[in-house]
């Protein structure tokens, strides 16, 4: 048992924390207000090496592990949850399946620019009638010579419209159904027949972008098939297992930010002649918040550690994502409570954290779906 980070992991925390404080945090409130996607920040993070942390240097990555990656997502999300999910989707939902299932050629062509950060990635699984139930998926891909012809619609696509590279799931065998008949494809922005529909207007993570993706007789080179035909469901599920570590880290980052703000405010705000922190009701709330954040971080880093060491991590990631997002919801709500009326005001940062964090209980599998994963694992 060893609970200390390696010197390299410590370095990553410091590096990302300093960068996030100087470059990401100052514009977070304004980007939220105006719903601005910070493409230039992604370019900068790319050149810093933040967008390919867990991938080998030969593919443009930093050659670090998933613990370092989780730490980076936490630190970025502490400054801006929208930016955090952008990095997480790019790294774990788009780059990872290419790293894991891609051919050497696909890795060279697609993983390298993703890991170097010169291109942005996204992941399209959800459809209007297929959310928690992937079985409702209807998008199709029909082989025609050396191309696949894609038709269908994907919704809620994070980074959609900005991303140059999408990992898209479509049925290659309708009769076999989604579990056996779905396949994964690498689709480049600009491919004829691939266009964007409406942009989501959201409660939180407003400087992250989600768009509808529309495929109308979109011809994708057969060389862009990821893995084998029919492997799509497995690729999607194993990818989401890893993605949840990123969402958990995002939730921990948001919760830590809320806790930090609440501690500072409770020491400064004076009512009844003394700081509100000296009221036990407030200090106990802070104690609970701190404990929950710590527990969530440990679950998250453990899931990341498992992934880095080729240990099973599906259950661990589901637990981390569910727990971290649930406590983060509570911690951010309590932070608003500690700020009182000012917490509800948009002039203070904690209301944004509370709006931002809600989504972590929903995406990459709702927390109900996480419980299904966990129960499925322990009842096997």
């Amino acid at each position: 048992m060893n609970f200390t980070l390696t010197p390299e992991q410590e370095d990553i925390r410091k590096l990302v924390r300093d960068f996030a404080a100087a470059k990401i945090a100052p514009s977070a409130a304004e980007r939220d207000e105006k719903e601005l996607f910070p493409r230039e920040l992604f370019a900068e993070m790319g050149s810093m090496g933040f967008l390919g942390l867990p991938y080998p240097e030969e593919y443009g990555g930093a050659g670090m592990d998933f613990v370092a990656y989780a730490i980076a997502v936490e630190e970025i999300s502490k400054a801006c949850a929208s930016t955090g999910i952008g990095v997480s989707v790019h790294t774990s939902l788009c780059s990872w399946p290419i790293y894991k299932y891609g051919s050497e050629e696909q890795k060279k062509k697609f993983l390298t620019p993703l890991a170097e950060g010169s291109k942005l990635g996204a992941f399209g699984l959800t459809e209007p009638n297929a959310g928690t139930d992937v079985g409702g998926a209807a998008a199709s891909a029909v082989k025609d010579g050396d191309t696949y012809v894609l038709n269908g619609t994907k919704v809620f696509n994070t980074n959609g419209g900005e991303a140059e590279i999408e990992v898209i799931f479509a049925l290659t065998d309708k009769a076999a159904g989604p579990f056996k008949g779905m396949s994964a494809f690498i689709v480049e922005k600009g491919t004829p027949g691939f266009s964007f529909g409406k942009k989501e207007v959201k409660m939180g993570i407003r400087s992250s972008v989600q768009r509808e993706l529309i495929f109308e007789n979109c011809r994708v080179p057969a060389a862009n098939l990821l893995g084998k035909e029919g492997q799509g469901f497995k690729i999607a599920m194993s990818t989401l297992d890893g993605g949840r570590i990123g969402v958990a880290a995002q939730a921990v980052g948001i919760a830590q930010a809320a806790l930090d703000y609440a501690v500072r405010y409770a020491k400064e705000r004076v009512q009844f002649g003394k700081p509100i922190a000296s009221q036990q009701a407030v200090s106990f709330m802070l104690a609970d918040m701190a404990t929950q954040v710590e527990a969530a971080r440990l679950l998250t880093l453990r899931a990341a550690f498992h992934k880095s060491h080729d240990l099973p991590y599906s259950k661990e990631a589901a637990m981390a994502k569910m727990f971290a997002s649930d406590i983060a919801m509570r911690v951010t709500t309590d932070a608003v409570q500690i700020f009182g009326g000012y917490g509800y005001s948009r002039e203070y940062p904690v209301e944004r954290l509370m709006r931002d964090v809600k989504i972590t209980q929903i995406y990459e599998g709702t927390n109900q779906a996480q419980r299904m994963v966990i129960a499925g694992n322990i009842l096997r």
Partner: protein, 261 residues
């Protein structure tokens, strides 16, 4: 062009608290960082190297963990690093530190330009840079906001209250720089990992002995008798009045009551 940058590892002052009971700084658990002005110095050196070529060497004096500060500079792009570290150097004041650093710099093969931060944010003396120049017997310009090199001469802008002076000097030359000169770059992940693997030379007091007869506390004339926190700044006062004229009258009355005017 051989550029030497002197850096200091300082406690992160944003995380330091003051114990008013014992009148001391609470340093426990406070992370060490590269003195912010020294990062400007490193950045200035890197930018000059990008133009003129050459080498950037960072030098620090401090305990073994000061290596971390050097690693950060290497990650930013410095070529070499020297740590001057020895128990005999403990307790060194600005003068003793200047002597030790000057001796370490003299031990380098060559130096054309030495860049220091204008001051360290812990001691705030702003004396070590000038002290090094004096020990080496070379010219110095402090509070520089721009450096241009032209073969064997340097042309620098020195900040003044009203604007800036343009100063020309031969080399070797020592300059100290402030925040205005540049925005230090962030090291990338890859460079940080590479910096971790970099061998850092450690120089002991004995190697400096020839130049520094009395290192550390023994060679430090400054004695710190007491440290105290400045009194908290009193709250300002806002004069509320019906009209501007009445407010001015009220202000004048207050000022003359207090014999300011």
């Amino acid at each position: 062009m051989e550029i030497v940058v002197c850096v200091k590892q300082v406690p992160d002052t944003t995380e330091i608290r003051f114990d008013s009971g014992t009148n001391t700084l609470i340093r426990e658990g406070v992370p060490g960082i590269v003195n912010p002005f020294d990062k400007n110095a490193v950045e200035a050196a890197l930018q000059l190297r990008e133009k003129t070529g050459g080498k950037v060497t960072v030098v620090t004096m401090g305990p073994p963990q000061a290596k971390n500060a050097l690693k950060e500079c290497i990650a930013m792009g410095a070529d070499e690093a020297v740590l001057v570290s020895d128990r005999a150097l403990a307790g060194a004041d600005a003068l003793a530190t200047s002597r030790a650093l000057a001796a370490a710099i003299r031990a380098l093969e060559r130096y054309d330009l030495i860049i220091c931060g204008r001051q360290a944010i812990d001691g705030d003396t702003a004396q070590v840079g000038p002290g090094i120049a004096e020990c080496l017997g070379i010219p110095q310009v402090t509070c520089v906001q721009k450096i241009e090199l032209d073969g064997t001469a340097a042309r620098v802008e020195r900040e003044t209250e009203e604007g800036y002076d343009v100063v020309e000097s031969g080399m070797p030359l020592l300059v100290t720089v402030g925040k205005g000169i540049n925005v230090p770059r962030y090291p990338t992940v890859r460079d940080t990992m590479k910096a971790n693997r970099k061998e850092i030379a450690v120089m002991a007091a004995a190697e400096l002995q020839a130049c520094v007869r009395k290192p550390g506390l023994g060679g430090s004339p400054v004695r710190v008798r007491k440290i105290s926190a400045p009194p908290p700044r009193a709250q300002g006062e806002v004069i509320q009045a019906e009209s501007a004229a009445e407010a001015v009258d009220a202000l004048l009355r207050k000022l003359s009551d207090r014999k300011v005017i």
